[in-house]
Symmetry: C2
Subunit: 229 residues, 2 copies
């Protein structure tokens, strides 16, 4: 069944440890994108709600799902009838256990799914616990999976989502500039090896020790480039 | 243990269905490379002994292992104390069953291993049977695996070799020009996702319906480019 969908990638620079500012910005992006044209899916970068180098602040900035951030953005998603994927620090009942996660909000203003990053990078392991499940979302227009940052380096992640029926994988990333050639290579390879679409939103800007490379991109199942920001 | 090895990639245009000509050329390449400097491993492209678009001629050009081609080149490998990987059509006892294969010859002039391509491309299936095992070779200087052409598109292939201890994967390919961006992406991705070296020899030249893209390359475990022909 041929279908056409509209996906928006938001290449933003979240303010470090300033969630209210980031929430406002994300809300404005959703409004601006949704006002320009009907959009099926809007993808924000990894940890777009908090920024990256949080250190001990991660505990204070972590939120439950549903919670403040999901409530705020779910309303915007419903206003513009779109799915929204954004990044945040997730906590559960035990407040000291944190995850680097993304949430998918639905066009009905509901929390559709959340995913906890499986492949944590070295230093992240001091802060976050690794997830253990890959999550697909069923939209009206098809099934898509969610990955975060360094999940991209492990082909098993996108493969698992594809084997469970994903036709599109969205990636929310905080990818650093010094590995930018690998970024492009992995995205093309994941798309082609699974014959799927990959929509990858990477942040820009700087933090105390990190520089982020942008190059958010959408690639098709034959490696064809739809956009490169 | 830090080690330094010398790998040569031969980016040649095999003559179609002219194995004697190709054997002579390969012998000359080994001699020229080995005379210039001590070399640990020389990698030839896929089907370097026969060319690619063989059709029904594949049956006549297929060889057993050991056989004429391996005997000839094994002597050259021994002369220059190097491993040699080259491509040919392999047959076994039942003459009608053919494989798209590579053979690894050792510095002692022995046949060290052979590998039969697992991931055949669409049309190849009319001629070749698929292999079912990934093969690593133990050299004095380390363990390396062998892959062929479209095996590169399936991350499980290089992953399997890595999980069995490969530090280097050599790829013999007949990769077409119209998928050249994917070629580079897959090679970088395989190297980085497995933290291994990848040494890929692709042929050049044309055949009745195919054009080959060269770009033979060696990439390291951080995606670093050692050479691109």
């Amino acid at each position: 069944m041929p279908r056409e969908i509209t996906v928006a990638l938001v290449q933003m620079a979240p303010a470090l440890a300033n969630p209210e500012e980031n929430l406002r910005k994300m809300g404005e992006f959703i409004e601006r994108i949704g006002s320009e044209q009907p959009t099926d899916l809007i993808v924000f970068p990894e940890l777009s709600y908090t920024g990256t180098e949080l250190g001990l602040r991660a505990t204070d900035l972590a939120e439950r799902i549903p919670g403040h951030a999901t409530n705020y953005l779910a309303k915007r998603a419903a206003d513009f009838n779109t799915h929204v994927v954004f990044g945040l620090v997730i906590k559960e009942k035990i407040e000291s256990i944190l995850y680097n996660g993304v949430v998918c909000l639905g066009p009905e203003g509901d929390v559709v799914a959340s995913y906890r990053k499986v492949h944590l990078l070295g230093e992240e392991r001091q802060v976050y616990r690794g997830g253990f499940r890959f999550i697909n979302v069923d939209a009206d227009w098809g099934r898509f999976g969610m990955l975060i940052g360094s999940d991209l380096v492990f082909p098993e992640a996108a493969r698992s989502l594809t084997l469970e029926g994903a036709e599109l994988v969205v990636l929310s990333a905080n990818w650093e500039t010094n590995r930018q050639e690998q970024w492009r290579a992995h995205i093309i390879s994941r798309a082609v090896e699974n014959a799927i679409f990959v929509a990858a939103a990477n942040r820009v800007g700087e933090e105390p020790t990190m520089q982020f490379g942008g190059d958010s991109t959408m690639v098709g199942p034959m490696g064809e480039l739809y956009t490169l920001l």
